[in-house]
């Protein structure tokens, strides 16, 4: 009986240990990709500003080329709009990224 309880306890302990290990892994995963995701957002935002800047008054890439790419830049436009909405709260974004 004692042996069985010990076996059950060990089993439960192992399962709990594995679960926590998984959570730890997920946590590391999230932390590692959060920075990458922010980098990606910045790059997509930059790409949209670079290619479509001439349409919003930034004299850069020739308008003809911008217009040729416009049909395929839906995601970049959305990222750019979200980014510009959050421009007044950059500090909070950085604090969030740094887990403060």
């Amino acid at each position: 009986m004692i042996f069985l309880n010990k076996k059950m306890w060990l089993n439960r302990f192992w399962k709990a240990f594995c679960l926590r290990l998984k959570w730890l892994g997920e946590g590391f995963k999230r932390q590692s990709t959060e920075v990458l995701e922010k980098e990606l957002e910045e790059m997509e935002n930059g790409f949209a500003l670079l290619t479509l800047g001439s349409l919003v008054g930034l004299p850069i890439l020739p308008s003809y080329t911008s217009l040729s790419l416009l049909p395929y830049l839906e995601r970049e436009i959305l990222v750019m709009l979200i980014k510009s909405e959050r421009l007044d709260d950059k500090l909070a974004e950085w604090a969030d990224l740094a887990d403060i």
Binding site: S32, L36, G46, F47, S54, P62, Y64, T65, S68, E74
Partner: protein
């Protein structure tokens, strides 16, 4: 053998007249010749004495002439973009894109870009001709058209690298967080990315134009000057601006020679120069005679 000739120079120096003389000269010698004007203020029809026409028209045996309608190229381009936008951005169905594009059409740089594409198109469409003669607009617009492929190429190179970096980052994130983590249908594969594909199409166009413009064996830039100080000064500026993008003047034509005393041509001393005498009356039938003294040399 050189078979594409571009006539450049200050407004009013006689680019159209001399391009016409070469076109008539070549066709008289049984060479299939295509003569086009990319100047928005066309006057090919004035030279040949007929009402304005659209598309390529056979004006003599072996001579096709065309006044390039830039507006048509621009409209066609915007029509294609509008159609693509409507299929991809469903919420644009209710917005009148045509009105929006009326404004974009007149945006700075659009006309030059349309001309650049028109130039590429006419050269591609008439590859079967023996000779192509292109009459260009006066200096300001001409320089913008000829330098645009080089500037566009630099931009396309940069955004291509940037796009590859974006796709690499997307690949890493989706590999860790799952396929649809960034949203459904977000492309991570470079071979399936439509943006990269479009950049590739644009780049192929400008690369091909750059190759044509800088190939001194096939293309020849003819700078038309008058024997006056102003046209010479502008000629010097054209030569300098084009040499920055590796386009070189192949021949100088001193038109209306004898009309005024020849100004100092020190800048062009080392370059081949042909003198075209000033004629009081220029008959269409005798136009080809103007090219008698220089045409043979340049087509060799």
């Amino acid at each position: 053998m050189k078979n594409i000739f571009f006539f450049l120079g200050k407004g009013g120096v006689g680019k159209t007249t001399l391009s016409a003389s070469l076109a008539y000269y070549l066709s008289k010698n049984k060479q299939k010749t295509y003569w086009a004007s990319i100047d928005p203020a066309h006057n090919i029809c004035d030279v040949i004495g007929c009402p304005p026409f659209s598309g390529a028209k056979e004006i003599e045996c072996d001579l096709l002439a065309e006044e390039i309608n830039v507006e048509h190229y621009l409209k066609q381009f915007l029509k294609e973009i509008t159609a693509q936008m409507k299929t991809i951005y469903s919420y644009f169905q209710i917005i009148n894109l045509d009105e929006m594009f009326e404004v974009i059409k007149n945006a700075p740089g659009m006309e030059e870009s349309a001309m650049m594409h028109a130039l590429k198109d006419i050269i591609d469409r008439h590859r079967d001709m023996d000779y192509l003669i292109i009459d260009t607009p006066p200096t300001g617009l001409m320089l913008k058209i000829f330098t645009l492929p080089f500037i566009t190429n630099i931009w396309l190179e940069r955004i291509k690298v940037w796009r590859h970096k974006i796709l690499d980052k997307r690949t890493t994130i989706t590999a860790i967080r799952g396929k649809d983590y960034l949203g459904k249908g977000i492309i991570t594969d470079a071979s399936k990315d439509k943006v990269l594909k479009e950049i590739g199409v644009q780049k192929a166009t400008v690369d091909s134009l750059i190759k044509i413009l800088t190939d001194t064996k096939k293309s020849c830039f003819i700078l038309v000057l008058n024997p006056d100080r102003l046209s010479l000064m502008e000629g010097i500026r054209i030569k300098k601006a084009l040499s920055v993008v590796n386009i070189h003047i192949g021949l100088l034509l001193m038109n209306k020679f004898g009309l005024t005393p020849l100004a100092n041509t020190e800048e062009f001393n080392h370059m081949p120069m042909k003198k075209v005498p000033f004629l009081k009356v220029l008959d269409k039938e005798k136009l080809y005679q103007l090219a008698d003294s220089w045409a043979e040399d340049i087509i060799k």
